[in-house]
Amino acid sequence: MFQLDNVQVKNVFTIKSLLLKEPVISIEGQSGSGKSTLLRLLNNLDDPAAGIIKLNSRNITELPACELRRKVVMAPQNPVMFDGSIRENLYMGLRLSGQQAASDEALKEMLDRLRLEKSLDININDLSGGEKQRIALGRVLLMKQANVLLLDEPTSELDNKTTDHVLSQFLTIARKHEQQVIMVTHDKHVSEKFADNVINMDTYSGQHGGE
């Protein structure tokens, strides 16, 4: 569970106090309101200008950076693909974080759940933007050791029907693994349907921010 106290990003937002405790949290807000920046702070990619971010009551600056990111993994807005096949891209998260690779069966099951009828051997460059986005989601979902999954616009390239299917599958598995999901989205429908709590970053905008 994340706790933010007086977290400030100059000219963007000031969060006096915020507890991120619900299993599925959606972050909304206008462009430039700091939605992605907030995720980057939680993943320790950036440091706030001021304030403290705690994970399970410990200041994240006290945690070894790698260890923190293995507990709090992130899928960025533009899915990052690595040279190679679907298989390699799916288990890349496990490999990069020093975990054991998943079996082909587990990877195929993941593809089915994400509604991707593709062979594991297909080159990643042959996939469309929406398909790559689902691979990126599958990749973080395979990282069972993580406690928090940060998703930046995870369904921006999917149609409504696929979004509903993919997100409901994703959240079912995340719940099963007892993983918290914090996602940035501009899609109100996604927030209403899937989130237990919706945070609107517009309320924290400027130097004074909100509670």
Binding site: N44, L45, R69, A75, P76, F82, G93, S97
Partner: protein, 275 residues
């Protein structure tokens, strides 16, 4: 000196400059604006080689360990400076220090092994062998390190998203940079490997050619060439490895954040400037 060696007068050398005049005419005819560069290069080469020729005459006549070592260090210093100049991007002072350290350590270790174990020079500072062979090894290493530096910087800048994407998934900076380090190493080693592959078939290496012209047996020349090429390959490899395994760290801070994408939130929320 071997008596069979063909005498070579200064006039004959002067004739070789006709090639440069031909190139200058072609440049003028083709309107290629490189005349100034060519003239400066030729002048520099001529002056540098004449000076070094006279210095070597003195050094070979008066062998002394301090002189030999000093000359090698001067060559090493120029090589380091040359790498700085050859790097296209602006490089941080941290990277410059690592270039100097890697070249000093990598080249020194390899030169000591090469001179004392492979060639078994007696005395160890014998300038006739120590200086020209060190020059060859330092020169080739300089090329390798330049390629390593350029490829590392380009890789880090060109693949920012991939590196940060790997960090987001819990990769350590070393793991996140691994493919770029490997690619930079590969590119740095390529000229040396290509030279080894083509040697003897596509071209006769310079040192071997020189020895044969100087009247040395081709077999002896081959032995020297083999040893030197192996020494070069080892030195380039070790020096580039030392450089890459220290230099990638410059791109990450103590919180293992990638400084090329990290946002300087305290100021303007823009990525931190690297240069």
């Amino acid at each position: 000196m071997n008596e069979d060696v063909m005498d070579f007068t200064m006039w004959q050398v002067a004739y070789a400059y006709i090639f440069i005049i031909i190139i200058l005419v072609i440049f003028r005819f083709k309107k290629i604006p490189r005349e100034k560069l060519l003239i400066i290069s030729v002048l520099r080469m001529t002056i540098q080689l004449i000076i070094v020729g006279y210095i070597l005459v003195y050094v070979l006549k008066n062998p002394h360990p301090l002189i030999t070592v000093s000359i090698v260090f001067i060559m090493l210093g120029f090589a380091v400076f040359n790498v700085y100049q050859r790097t296209k991007a602006t490089i941080k002072i941290d990277i410059k220090k690592i270039i100097a350290l890697a070249m000093f350590v990598g080249i020194s270790i390899n030169l000591i092994f090469f001179m004392l174990v492979v060639l078994q020079l007696d005395p160890w500072y014998e300038p006739q062998y120590f200086i020209p062979l060190s020059g060859m090894i330092i020169g080739k290493t300089m090329t390798g390190v330049s390629l390593g530096v350029n490829n590392l910087l380009n890789g880090m800048k060109g693949q920012k998203e991939k590196i940060e994407g790997a960090l987001m998934l819990g990769a350590s900076p070393k793991v996140a940079s691994k493919s770029i380090i490997n690619e930079a190493y590969d590119q740095a080693m390529l000229p040396t490997i290509n030279a080894m592959v083509g040697m003897g078939i596509i071209f006769l290496p310079g040192m071997m050619t020189g020895q044969i012209i100087a009247g040395q047996s081709p077999i002896t020349a081959v032995k020297y060439q083999l040893s030197v090429m192996l020494g070069v390959a080892g030195t380039v490899s070790i020096t580039v490895l030392i450089f890459l395994h220290l230099a990638y760290k410059v791109f990450f801070n103590e919180r293992q954040q990638f400084i090329l994408t990290k946002r300087d939130i305290s100021k303007d929320n823009l990525p931190v400037k690297y240069e």
